[in-house]
């Protein structure tokens, strides 16, 4: 997306919001200007920054751990037909189960604090990355592996020169697909057993304090965080692989 496109999209959305606020004319939908004022105020005088950092930390840690565990397992499954035959039915059944429903259970198991929130996001990302990386690793041409082996490559060299670069696009696709889900799950996870995080902040201001501009400020920050992650994946993709196919 070009910069001009981005500015255009933001302007259209702000105008629509402005118009909607004008028509509805109730405190539950404040004008963008009020929200921006609240955003600035909450950032510099309130605790919004702290809540943002708490949420950001949870998303980043769970994403990194998910990549580091799911990608290698995906590569192994993609390359070992026997293991794949054993594990695929299990993954197949677990994959479509909506993991969000496990939020209360995970919270009961792991209690309060960051850990249960990280676990729940991790579980969701893990399956997405695992399935995509496995399929991509299974599609690597045997000729490619054989010819690199003929140059003297053992398992470690194959991983570095073939499996890892071949799986990178799948990891990025999985991340791109799951950024939205991760942020949504983060929100839900932060409704329970915490006083830190954007989820808590949004819910507190919307349902307890009825400070609607602050609540929207929280939503804006959460959205910006999601967008930022999405753009980071995009940037990384453009920077590190310009080739488009693996065959």
């Amino acid at each position: 997306m070009k910069k001009s496109d981005l500015i255009y999209a933001i302007l259209v959305l702000l105008l629509t919001w402005q118009l909607a606020a004008f028509i509805i004319n109730r405190p539950i939908l404040p004008y963008p200007s009020e929200v921006i004022r609240a955003l600035i105020d909450e950032t510099f005088n309130g605790e919004l920054t702290g809540h943002f950092l708490a949420s950001f930390y949870r998303v980043i840690v769970s994403t990194l751990v998910a990549i580091l565990t799911a990608a290698p397992i995906g590569i192994i499954l993609g390359q070992s037909r026997r293991l794949n035959r054993r594990l695929t039915p299990i993954v197949y059944i677990l994959y479509p189960v909506p993991k969000v429903v496990f939020v209360p259970i995970v919270l009961l198991f792991f209690g309060i604090g960051n850990f249960p929130k990280i676990v729940i996001i991790y579980i969701i990302l893990f399956f997405q990355i695992l399935v995509l990386v496995r399929d991509q690793a299974a599609n690597i041409h045997p000729e490619l592996i054989q010819s690199v082996r003929s140059l003297g490559a053992g398992r470690r060299a194959l991983f570095k020169f073939v499996y890892y670069p071949a799986s990178l696009p799948a990891i990025l696709t999985a991340l791109r697909q799951s950024v939205g889900t991760a942020v949504a799950v983060l929100y839900i996870a932060e409704l329970f057993a915490t006083t830190k995080g954007l989820g808590y902040y949004i819910y507190l201001n919307g349902s307890t304090l009825f400070d609607f501009p602050a609540m929207y400020a929280g939503i804006v920050v959460l959205s910006i965080m999601g967008l930022g992650l999405y753009f980071s994946v995009d940037w990384f993709e453009k920077r590190y692989y310009s080739w488009k196919f693996i065959r």
């Binding site: 054989q146 010819s147 690199v148 140059l151 003297g152 053992g154 060299a157 670069p165 310009s242």
Partner: protein, 256 residues
């Protein structure tokens, strides 16, 4: 010398392709392996490369029984052999990078250290200078095969194995690469084994032609073709006669 001793090979599905098969290949000779698809041509190449292990019997290269791929054996496949995400230069450097990655563990590393300057030499020898920063999908099929050849020759091999290397190329490019391969064979003192399904290519490329038929193969059928080293061999009558002879043989062979 490459020796195959009582070599047998059976696919996991059960088809036996070679049974007690013996073959001797002298150093610095050139061989073309010819036969219909499914006759075990590629399998033979993989067995000699060490990528596949025989079900029984031995592959002996210069007196040593082969147990894993040997760094001095180069293998070039028809397609897909290059890393699609790496540039031409990175692909040519790959063998050396792998060596470096392993370090001197003795298992895969060669005895001698090959200098990186080799890469520049082969890039320019094969005319890849100007495209060295391109990735494989952006260069022609002929350039891709040149890259594969450069990648192999950087490692200073003594044996060059090629699996239908020119099959997907257009005729002029193919002719050019066949000629180049013969030049390199001579200049680098290589032992060349080239698998093909084209009679013309086999006659052009091999001092010996190994004819395979439907499996399992017990005895090698070898046709001497020493004239293949003559300059512009494909323009001579001998060439035409040899092609004709071979075509008859293959028809005869298939009737059995």
């Amino acid at each position: 010398m490459i020796q195959l001793e009582k070599l047998s090979f059976q696919y996991p599905q059960g088809t036996v392709v070679f049974k007690d098969f013996n073959l001797k290949i002298d150093l610095h000779s050139s061989w073309a392996v010819l036969g219909p698809s499914g006759c075990g041509k590629t399998t033979l190449l993989y067995l000699i490369s060490g990528l596949q292990r025989p079900s029984s019997g031995k592959v002996i290269i210069n007196g040593t029984v082969l147990t894993h791929p040997r760094p001095q054996t180069g293998l070039i496949l028809q397609d897909y052999g290059l890393l699609p995400w790496s540039t031409v230069r990175q692909n040519v450097e790959l063998g050396l990078q792998i060596r470096r990655f392993y370090g001197p563990d003795g298992k895969h590393a060669p005895d001698k250290n090959i200098p990186m300057e080799n890469v520049d030499h082969w890039l320019s020898r094969l005319g890849l200078d100007s495209i060295q920063d391109n990735i494989p999908q952006n260069i022609s099929g002929g350039q891709r095969q040149r890259t594969a050849i450069a990648r192999t020759l950087v490692l200073e091999p003594d044996i060059l194995l090629m699996d239908e290397p020119f099959a997907s190329l257009d005729a002029p490019t193919r002719n050019g690469l066949q000629k180049l391969t013969k030049e390199l064979w001579n200049e680098q003192a290589l032992t060349l084994i080239l698998v093909t399904h084209s009679i013309e290519e086999a006659v052009l490329m091999g001092q010996y032609i190994l004819l395979l038929s439907n499996p399992p193969t017990f005895e090698p059928l070898i046709i001497n073709n020493f004239e293949s080293t003559i300059v512009d061999y494909q323009d001579t009558d001998e060439y035409q006669n040899r092609v004709r002879q071979l075509r008859d043989m293959m028809e005869e062979y298939e009737k059995k």
